[in-house]
């Protein structure tokens, strides 16, 4: 039921950088998490030693360095919690619970092609995933499609290039890369790979509308493996409060009558797109 052993730890912050406008990366020290976290999993961070804000804030594991015993977060400063995290000083400590939740299934077919779709801060876990896929299957089989509203908001592009994977960029305003939605890019790419009869696996993280479209496109193209990483408002992040639910289906028929509320924090955040009820 619980895939990875979860721990509670006070982690020292050893790096704080603004990587894009109001997008920050924090590097934390936690050897166990650095070793055991899998792509798609997240940590739950307590940003202050007080009761306001009260609840922890969930962030995907963005990168790990098992040798150094560190892992990093990549986050958008949208509210009070992320603001407090951003304003912390190197050397400060934060309480972290993790690694939490399900992870991406990397598959075992050495010839499969892996298509990763990242929207906005969805790049955070996709970065970790791309790294892992490279190691397991070789970077040649990995393509990352990165989307954002505008060029300055495109995240991790240089890192992906550094990994050596194929990277394509799409921006809503056309200021950088393909002028349009990253899901249109996906549609095109799938056409080509599938025409070549390549077993293609899709992985995605980003805003809900984007992932809904990713799921649709995959359905249309008959992609068998489409995994999405969901977000939801979480109270516990531990699987006990039932607050973070999304509608899920055990069998894979489109119009799922007997759906049930499934927990994003423990049954997810990574789900097989076919197991979700997309409304």
């Amino acid at each position: 039921m619980i895939q990875t052993k979860r721990i509670i730890a006070d982690c020292e912050i050893i790096e704080q950088i603004e990587v894009a406008p109001h997008i920050f990366r924090s590097v934390l020290v936690e050897p166990t998490i650095a070793k055991t976290a899998k792509p798609g999993q997240f940590v739950n961070v307590r940003v202050c030693d007080c009761y306001d804000p009260l609840l922890r804030r969930p962030f995907s594991v963005h990168a790990v360095n098992p040798e150094k015993g560190t892992f990093s977060l990549l986050y958008d400063v949208i509210g009070r919690g992320t603001k407090i995290l951003r304003d912390m000083h190197v050397g400060d400590k934060v309480s972290v619970v993790g690694p939490l939740g399900s992870s991406f299934d990397l598959g075992d077919d050495p010839n499969a092609h892996h298509m990763l779709v990242a929207g906005g801060c969805g790049a955070a876990p996709i970065h970790f995933l791309s790294d892992a896929l490279c190691h397991k299957h070789g970077c040649g089989n990995v393509t990352v499609l990165v989307g954002a509203k505008t060029g300055t908001a495109i995240l991790c592009q240089s890192e992906f290039v550094a990994h050596g994977v194929n990277v394509e960029v799409a921006t809503d305003d056309g200021s950088f890369g393909f002028n349009g939605l990253v899901t249109e890019l996906l549609d095109n790419c799938l056409k080509s790979t599938l025409n070549l009869g390549v077993n293609t696996r899709v992985y995605s993280c980003g805003p809900m509308p984007m992932m809904r479209e990713v799921a649709r496109v995959c359905r249309v193209h008959g992609v068998d493996s489409c995994q999405v990483s969901l977000e939801s408002t979480m109270a516990c992040g531990l699987g006990v409060c039932m607050g973070c639910v999304t509608k899920a289906c055990d069998h894979h028929d489109e119009s799922c009558e007997d759906w049930r509320y499934s927990r994003v924090c423990t049954d997810g955040p990574v789900f097989d797109a076919k197991e979700l009820v997309w409304e």
């Binding site: 009761y51 009260l54 609840l55 109270a235 039932m242």
Partner: protein, 302 residues
């Protein structure tokens, strides 16, 4: 140093229990919390048949608190007995099941089935869930409704019966008295305060259910006041809860008149809060050289 207390027929090795709905059915947190170190495990609200629960969003953070409108999603009492209870039998910690129903008969039937299930020590009657339209909450806001449910459950089981009181009433003592007169062995309070939150930018309620139950440190002063009022009025054991995160919070409740405490939202802040609270109480007792936790109950002066 003695930390053990008794609630009805239930003997607990320390006064700290889990608050229903914040600890699942125990197994979910067994990797982070040593269940053997808990005074008792109170599992989440359980009904006769499975409940789907309310639509999402179900929670919203508030200053020093949170709102929840889970709507008591649960798989029903039979599923609990078959699938969840066996795991809990591996620990020597009493199990208390929080029971919900849409009518008096449901409450009684669930109690009857738990009564014969091996490994259940007590039943906590939830007549104060503010997030379910039918029954439930309604019972907890009148002395008559409270008495009805309590008598029915009392008649259906020989297990220790705990009645959980709603804070959303003018006179909590009246409800407490009614529950005692109807035969409850103990009282637990408080359940959540009915509240709501609005997103000014979206101009929408933050909860799909519109209203939800407020919990966490924000409600502690209200919870503490009600525990104190009830402790003045009745003689049955009291389980105090509402905003407890650390040992000193718990000590406040004991001093106000509680015999035991429960940790709810605190578990979300610190997954190991329940154990930390138990250790914090022992810590306090050592510093104040108190050697029996029961000496603390009602020990506040003015």
């Amino acid at each position: 140093m003695n930390l053990s207390v008794e609630i009805g027929k239930i003997r607990m090795k320390n006064p700290v229990m889990t608050a229903s709905g914040t600890f699942g059915s125990g197994q979910e947190l067994s990797d982070l919390v040593d269940l053997n170190k808990l005074g008792a495990i109170v599992v989440k609200g359980t009904a006769l048949k499975p409940w789907k629960g309310n639509p999402y969003p179900r929670t919203a953070e508030t200053p020093a608190g949170m709102l929840n409108a889970i709507g008591l999603q649960n798989d029903g009492v039979d599923d609990f007995i078959e699938k969840k209870l066996p795991f809990l039998r591996n620990f020597d910690t009493p199990v208390i099941v929080n029971v919900v129903g849409q009518n008096v008969e449901d409450y009684a039937e669930v109690a009857k089935r738990l009564d014969v299930a091996e490994g259940v020590s007590g039943i906590e009657i939830n007549i104060s869930c503010p997030n379910v339209k039918e029954g439930c909450m309604a019972f907890g806001t009148t002395a008559k409704g409270t008495a009805e449910v309590v008598s029915a459950v009392r008649a259906a089981t020989s297990l220790t019966v705990i009645t959980k009181l709603s804070p959303n009433v003018t006179d909590v003592v009246e409800m407490a008295q009614a529950a005692v007169d109807a035969g409850t062995d103990a009282l637990s309070l408080i359940n959540t305060l009915l509240g709501t939150a609005i997103d000014p930018w979206k101009r929408k309620f933050k909860l799909a259910n519109i209203t939800g139950g407020l919990s966490g440190p924000a409600v502690k002063p209200v919870a503490l006041r009600m525990v104190w009022q009830v402790a003045q009025a009745v003689d049955v054991p009291i389980i105090g809860m509402g905003g407890i995160v650390n040992g000193l919070d718990a000590v406040e409740f004991l001093l106000a008149g509680a015999d035991a405490v429960a940790v709810g939202t605190g578990t979300f802040v610190n997954p190991a809060a329940t154990v930390a609270v138990a250790e914090g109480i022992a810590d306090y007792m050592e510093k104040m050289s108190v050697d029996d936790v029961r000496e603390l109950t009602g020990g506040v002066g003015s």
